[in-house]
């Protein structure tokens, strides 16, 4: 393979630097010792001043953080169940089916296509559609509507990851369990589920990150009393540059990197374990 020339390396470096520029600015300014009117822009010295106010009961962000975590937790829990079962149900079946069964399968097939739509269409559309549906159903806007909406766009992430994992599994493993007398439920719980677990976990982490990050859809389905972190960031940033938001953003950046790093670690470990088992089986 040809080595990169000086100019192409320089090009890569400049683009990567530009990608990090806005993030670095926010992080650096969050440690600003300047507490005056220009604090959001002119760096004068290092301090933790802006972090101290983050959990202030009145001006802090504690409530919003809890709302975000609560919404993300329930959305991921429920969408992990829906998505994993969905992926299992979508496994190809060779046996001939009765007409009624084929009808159900056709319906779940359409259901799967619909379940994938939220990550294909602009978020704005789903936000408005859900807002309209919730007001038609007279659901009070608040945590519940946020959770329903987040489940709707989290499920496809879990469906994709689990489905691609299941497609790499040997179907003979489940067959063996069934031949040895396990019921379908038991074969699922003792064979399929443990093998799919790393994919469920990494899909859930991805969904968790998406839920914590979502602004557009939450913007349309939140209630007056329930504000998530991204919604709070939006309303603070809309009016101008506020230094405390820098500190909040830095905390959120740190958390996002942590979640992703843990996710990568889990899939790397799962990969290694799989490689080890394969080696053992071959030996």
């Amino acid at each position: 393979m040809k080595k990169n020339s000086f100019w192409s390396s320089l090009y890569i470096a400049v683009i990567i630097l530009a990608l990090y520029l806005p993030i670095m600015v926010v992080v650096v300014l969050s440690f600003n010792g300047n507490t005056g009117r220009t604090a959001a822009m002119n760096f004068t010295g290092f301090s933790f001043y802006w972090y101290k106010g983050l959990f202030d009961p009145i001006s802090g962000f504690g409530t919003q953080m809890l709302t975000s975590l609560e919404v993300a937790f329930w959305s991921v829990m429920i969408s992990a169940c829906l998505g994993t079962l969905g992926a299992v149900g979508m496994l190809r079946q060779k046996m001939r089916k009765a007409a009624s069964e084929r009808a159900v399968m056709k319906m779940t097939g359409i259901g799967e296509q619909l379940a994938m739509l939220p990550i294909m269409i602009p978020e704005l559309i789903l936000g408005i559609a859900l807002m309209a549906l919730f007001s038609l159903l007279k659901l009070p806007f608040g945590k519940m509507t946020l959770i329903f909406a987040h489940i709707t766009f989290c499920t496809p992430y879990i469906l994709i990851t689990v489905k691609s994992r299941l497609s790499t599994l040997e179907p003979t493993l489940q067959e063996a369990a069934r031949d040895l007398g396990a019921s379908p439920a038991k074969a699922f719980a003792t064979v399929t589920l443990p093998l799919a677990a790393p994919a469920i976990l990494s899909g859930s982490l991805l969904a968790f990150a998406m839920s914590m990050d979502d602004f557009v859809i939450s913007f349309f389905v939140n209630g007056a009393q329930t504000t998530t972190l991204p919604l709070k960031v939006y309303s603070s940033v809309k009016v101008g540059v506020t230094p405390q938001v820098n500190a909040l953003c830095t905390v959120m950046l740190g958390a996002a990197f942590l979640v992703v790093a843990v996710g990568q670690l889990i899939s790397a470990l799962a990969e290694k374990r799989r490689a080890d088992t394969t080696k053992k089986v071959q030996a």
Binding site: M1, K3, N4, S8, S9, Y11, I12, I15, I16, A18, L19, P22, I23, M24, V25, V26, M41, N42, C81, G83, L85, G86, G89, M90, Q93, K94, V104, T108, I110, L114, A115, L117, P122, L124, I125, I128, A129, L130, S135, F148, I151, T152, I160, P171, R178, P184, A187, F188, T192, D213, F215, V216, P230, V237, K238, V241, C249, M252, A256, V260
Partner: protein
């Protein structure tokens, strides 16, 4: 034995909860939006009969046509800018050593694990009249008065390209990875210049990636409202801003629904066109 290669004869039933959920919250809610767009405005957030095409008639107004034109133009510019800056990046990374490639891809994707609002906010700070970019330019003596960067078409475009960039680079990179480079070598051996090889071999062979990248940057760009909201100030009325306004300021649910249906139809048309020219649906899932 009745097994059929999967855990049981009726495993397909496991997909029922997800399907029902998707039918209600995706299928019915989208159909409801289409239905709403055919009604007229009711009390508060409501809608009322009779069925009418009035909302669609209103779209002929200059204000809306102009907004649609601006949004489509901005989305197209965003997609083309991503191509202009993203293709060379994907190309150079794909030519690097395998170890370096992995690290460069991680470096490229990592910023996008963080909240989009925060990254756009970072640009807002950078663009301020007394912000870092102007300070640096001034201390270098390149400018005397601060440049007006924020609340311009330029700042919106930078924000859009920045937000959409990886959605272009990733599909192009993966098509470059899959490409058979011996073809390019053969072309060089037969006497073609590097530039000619690039345009006659590399570009056509990575065309599926380029198309997927263009679709992936174009579609979300039409509906994004918060980037123009934060970086474009009050004058920039893109389609997404219109929808937001109709809903939250005018409380006109049916008309907001009409505007969304237009967006949905545009998305559908683009995906159909993409499939028509041979694009694969699997390539344009985020």
């Amino acid at each position: 034995m009745k097994t059929d290669g999967s855990a049981g004869g009726r495993t397909y039933l496991a997909a029922l909860p997800m399907s029902l959920w998707a039918f209600l919250f995706v299928g019915i809610s989208l159909l409801y939006v289409i239905g709403l767009s055919l009604l007229s405005r009711g009390e508060g957030f409501g809608a009322q009969l009779p069925v009418t095409l009035d909302n669609y008639m209103r779209l002929g107004d200059r204000l809306y046509l102009r907004s649609l034109w601006l949004s489509l133009r901005l989305a197209a510019t965003t997609a083309l800018m991503s191509l202009l800056f993203g293709y060379p990046l994907a190309y150079f990374i794909s030519r690097a050593r395998p170890r370096a490639r992995t690290w460069l891809m991680i470096l490229l994707i990592a910023p996008f694990w963080t909240n989009a609002l925060i990254r756009i906010y970072g640009w807002k700070i950078l663009f301020y009249a007394n912000g870092p970019i102007n300070s640096v330019l001034r201390s270098l003596g390149l400018i005397e008065k601060p440049l007006k960067l924020l609340y311009t078409d330029f700042s919106v475009l930078v924000g859009m390209v920045y937000a959409m960039f990886p959605f272009f680079v990733l599909p192009v990179y993966s098509s470059l990875e899959r490409m058979d480079w011996t073809m390019a070598e053969a072309s060089r051996d037969l006497g073609a210049t590097p530039l000619k090889t690039f345009f006659t071999i590399t570009v056509p062979m990575t065309l599926p990636g380029i198309m997927a990248g263009l679709v992936l940057t174009f579609i979300p760009s039409i509906g994004l409202f918060f980037i123009s909201d934060l970086l474009g100030g009050a004058n920039t009325m893109l389609w997404g801003n219109l929808v937001q306004n109709e809903l939250l300021k005018s409380h006109d649910m049916p008309f907001a629904a009409t505007l969304s249906v237009v967006l949905l139809a545009l998305t559908g048309v683009i995906i159909l066109l993409y499939k028509r020219v041979g694009g694969k649906a699997d390539d344009i899932v985020f």
